[in-house]
Amino acid sequence: MVVVKLINLTKVFGKEVAVDNVNLEIEHGCFFTLLGPSGSGKSTTLRMIAGLEEPTKGEVMFDGKPVTHLPPYKRGVGMVFQNYALWPFMTVFDNVAFGLKIRKLPKEEIKKRVREALRLVQLEGMEKKYPHQLSGGQQQRVALARALVVNPKILLLDEPLSNLDAKLRIEMRREIRKLQKSLGITTIYVTHDQEEALAISDRIAVMNHGKVIATGTPYDVYVNCPDEFILSFVGHTNFIEGKVKRVLKDGRVLVETPLGDLTLMNAEGMPKKTYLLGFRPEYAKLTKKRTRPNAREAKVVVKEFLGKFTRYEVKVDGQTIVVDLMAKDDPGYAEGDGVYVDVDEDHVMVIRG
């Protein structure tokens, strides 16, 4: 069942098109993430779903009914903001109880539901504290409880973890995911952190310059998406140019690149002479000896030890190539060493001609 549907959604601020003709369908119970760099229009899209911005054009539908011109207080969504937006002059209890008081529920029920919501986010007994007496993680939980206590149809999260430190961020994203699954609440999550998006989502929509570039599962987006922007924004991708030398008997093609001749699957209709190829840093090795014909020698320019693996940046033909070597595959090169990049042919993507 489709819960949220965006049809040709567009927002223009002055001359700048912030959101450009976005079409999305979000299924019931889905953890959906809008992923994009800052200024890509993801927050504006979320705010239009919440009713905090009015679309210049297009429709927002909840359960098949248009809500485009409904004010936020009539939409029944819950929202968590990047800065949590906890009201500093109210206790934790009053913050969480606000939505229930607006709904004029009986006092006893308000008490019960606030307690329940705080238990859900593991903040029992914090009712009387003020926001400034809480840690960042605790404030985040209060914001979550406040959004959830009114039983919203849809939960909207606008970069909720960006103010937390790295470790807490991972802990909280697991908790949010667990909570979402146990409540079965349709959730739309905005983030610029691709790792977070991959880890937390059922589906991801990648946005850039106000447009949705691709939608799919995290796996689809990371592995099966030969789009230049996504490849470089979600993780890192090396781009190289390849010239087709000839078509082999088995139908594969031999392509000449600065990293040597590669035998690639013949993507349908590869009639052109040159192509843009891409591969992820983890799909290559560095060798002392030339393993591929016509490979040009590369020079190690940067070496970064990152714990699980070492990231090498090598210069070949005036171009920088990033290669991640797991500790077991790393012979330990030094900056300035001459090496050859041995790329795994199975993981070279043909991006465009």
């Binding site: 927050s43 905090l52 911005e53 009015e54 004010p71 207080y73 903001f81 002059f89 406040r146």
Partner: protein, 587 residues
């Protein structure tokens, strides 16, 4: 993204948008304009329209009335001198207070605030008590036979002549300049001090590292960075002098614009004279011209950025040896100069018998008794005026700040302009214009002065409440309201349940500042009603001085009551200001 966040509470239906974006702002500004803009228009019309016809005849009186042109030149020259003196004194004073490690800092700061929270001509009264012909210092020196004639510095006048014709074209009244410079000193010192605190320290450090000497660094980096604050201080001091009516009346010098306009209008209740209108028009023109030139610096938003940004950690420079002695000598002599007025007030307020002796021969509380018996109506009036100023200041500031900060109004620049007017248009002008508008109506200042005075004071003192409340509104994240909206609260409920509580400390602090500004107001009240039945406590000082039975001692007692009230209220205001979001500081 960030920028846009600070925008608006959408979506807004066409009808609601009409109400929230047009009707409410326009009606707020209309109410404000009735008391601030309309009087100015009436003055302009009064000069250029005679018997329903446009004429320049009235303006020509400047050319054939040498007295009038002298009054104008006097005001400009003395205004310039006063500004220059405060500038020379306040810049080092504020710098020392901010940057040097010296003892008794909070004492020096308190002394600086003293004239600031006193009614405008309280200082004058105190200085006359001390430095006047029959003041404490003059009589002491006479008694000690150090001088053989009474001290004349408060009344010394230097005439300026036209070198071609030999005609007297202007006068410089040194007593007036001295008292005004000391009275406005805090205005300059505090504005500059706030600006100094906003100067990025790393800029200075960078200059030192690059080999710049301290004095060069001060002029090239510090002073340049603090320039907006300095210019806004210059503007405020100059405008204050143009508007000054109390101090010239006290020293008995009438050849300045505000006094001349006031006296002309007092006469014109019996016969028509365009002099008051022409002077008012010129004062307005000076104010508007300065507002236009210094627009960048006196705009309310700029004012705000000067006011906020306080409690930042600063490196304090340690000074030793001869330098320390010089600095301390300067600070001590400045604080003596600044407190002479207050001391004069205190001595006179308790003096029961004081006739041509250095100090009173009998002290007691008789003056206060006289105040409570004969001037009791003034307490009621001042309470009405100040409380009205406080309430209107709080309500209008909250609404206008909200509109200016939260709505994308195409005309918010104009709103800012109009709201700055009370800072630059002299109170005498507003008073005269208001007087002309309401004559013959149910709110005629002759018949029912209290209502109209209360409203005029409230709207004239609005900027004092507004600046802090506006700054605080800017600091409140829009997400506070957005969160409430998504939780089901309507826009109106969100304003009352979220915005007002978040603003509460700033509202109280701003309201109290408007209260102080209201209680110390003089010029427009004096024009509208210089009587015991409708006058404020400040007018009371003037009345006591002109009453042969009372004179300076009773006037001083009233002044002391005002100062103490203001001290208490400003202490409270600061308490609340500390609680505002973003920790706004008032002075």
């Amino acid at each position: 993204m960030r920028l846009r966040r600070n925008s608006i509470i959408p979506p807004i239906f066409p009808l609601n948008k009409l109400i929230s974006h047009i009707l409410i702002p326009i009606s707020l500004m209309t109410i404000f304009s009735i008391f601030i803009v309309y009087p100015i228009l009436v003055i302009i019309a009064g000069v250029f329209m005679v018997d329903g016809k446009f004429t320049l005849r009235n303006l020509l009186i400047i050319t054939y009335d040498p007295m009038l042109s002298m009054i104008i030149i006097n005001t400009l020259i003395m205004g310039g001198l006063v500004t220059l003196i405060t500038l020379i004194l306040a810049v080092p004073y504020a710098y020392i207070l901010n940057r040097y490690d010296i003892p008794f800092k909070s004492f020096f700061l308190l002394i600086t605030l003293l004239p600031f929270i006193s009614p405008p001509y309280v200082g004058g009264l105190g200085y006359i008590n001390m430095l006047g012909r029959h003041g404490v210092i003059s009589l002491s020196l006479l008694k000690l036979r150090i001088i053989d004639k009474p001290l004349d510095i408060m009344y010394a006048v230097t005439p300026l002549f036209n070198p071609m014709t030999g005609a007297r074209i202007a006068e410089i009244h040194w007593g007036l300049i001295l008292i005004c410079a000391l009275t406005y000193f805090p205005l300059m010192a505090l504005t500059f001090s706030a600006a100094l605190q906003n100067v990025d320290e790393s800029l200075e450090e960078e200059a030192y590292i690059l080999g710049s000497k301290p004095l060069t660094t001060f002029f090239k980096i510090t002073l340049k960075s603090a320039m907006p604050g300095l210019i806004s201080g210059i503007i405020l001091v100059f405008i204050s002098f143009v508007d000054e009516i109390g101090i010239p009346l006290i020293v008995g010098y009438r050849n300045v614009m505000a006094v001349a306009a006031y006296e002309a209008i007092e006469e014109s209740s019996f016969y028509y004279t365009p002099k008051g209108y022409v002077l008012s028009l010129l004062m307005t023109a000076i104010g508007l011209l300065i507002l236009f030139l210094g627009r960048k610096y006196v705009s309310l938003s700029r004012y705000v950025s000067v006011v906020k940004g306080a409690a930042r950690y600063r490196k304090i420079v340690k000074i030793r040896g001869i330098k320390r002695i010089i600095v301390m000598l300067f600070m001590i002599s400045m604080s003596i100069l600044l407190s002479i007025g207050a001391i004069g007030i205190i001595i006179a307020a308790f003096a029961e018998r004081w006739y041509l002796t250095p100090l009173p021969t009998k002290v007691g509380l008789k003056n206060f008794e006289v105040v409570f018996e004969e001037y009791s109506t003034l307490f009621r009036n001042s309470a009405i005026y100040s409380v009205t100023a406080m309430i209107i200041g709080m309500i209008m500031s909250a609404l206008i700040s909200y509109i200016m900060v939260r709505m994308r109004l195409s005309y918010s620049g104009i709103l800012d302009y109009i709201l700055t007017l009370p800072l630059v248009v002299p109170g005498v002008v507003i008073g005269i214009g208001t007087w002309a508008i309401w004559r013959g109506t149910p709110l005629d200042p002759f018949v029912n002065p209290i209502t109209i005075i209360a409203l005029v004071i409230a709207f004239r003192k609005l900027p004092y409440a507004f600046r802090g409340i506006y700054a605080s509104t800017l600091q409140i994240p829009p997400e506070f309201e957005e969160a409430a909206l998504t939780l089901g609260a309507s826009r109106v409920r969100t304003f009352f349940k979220i915005m007002l509580p978040a603003l509460a400390p700033a509202l109280v602090a701003g309201g109290l500042l408007a209260f102080i500004a209201g209680i110390t107001e003089l010029s427009s009240t004096l024009v509208l009603s210089a009587t015991k039945s409708a006058g404020s406590l400040t007018v009371g000082i003037f009345l006591a001085l002109t009453d042969i039975r009372h004179g300076p001692p009773v006037g001083s007692a009233i002044a002391m009551i005002i100062i103490i009230t203001c001290l208490v209220v400003s202490y409270l205001a600061n308490l609340f200001a500390k609680k505002t979001i973003g920790g706004l500081r008032l002075f």
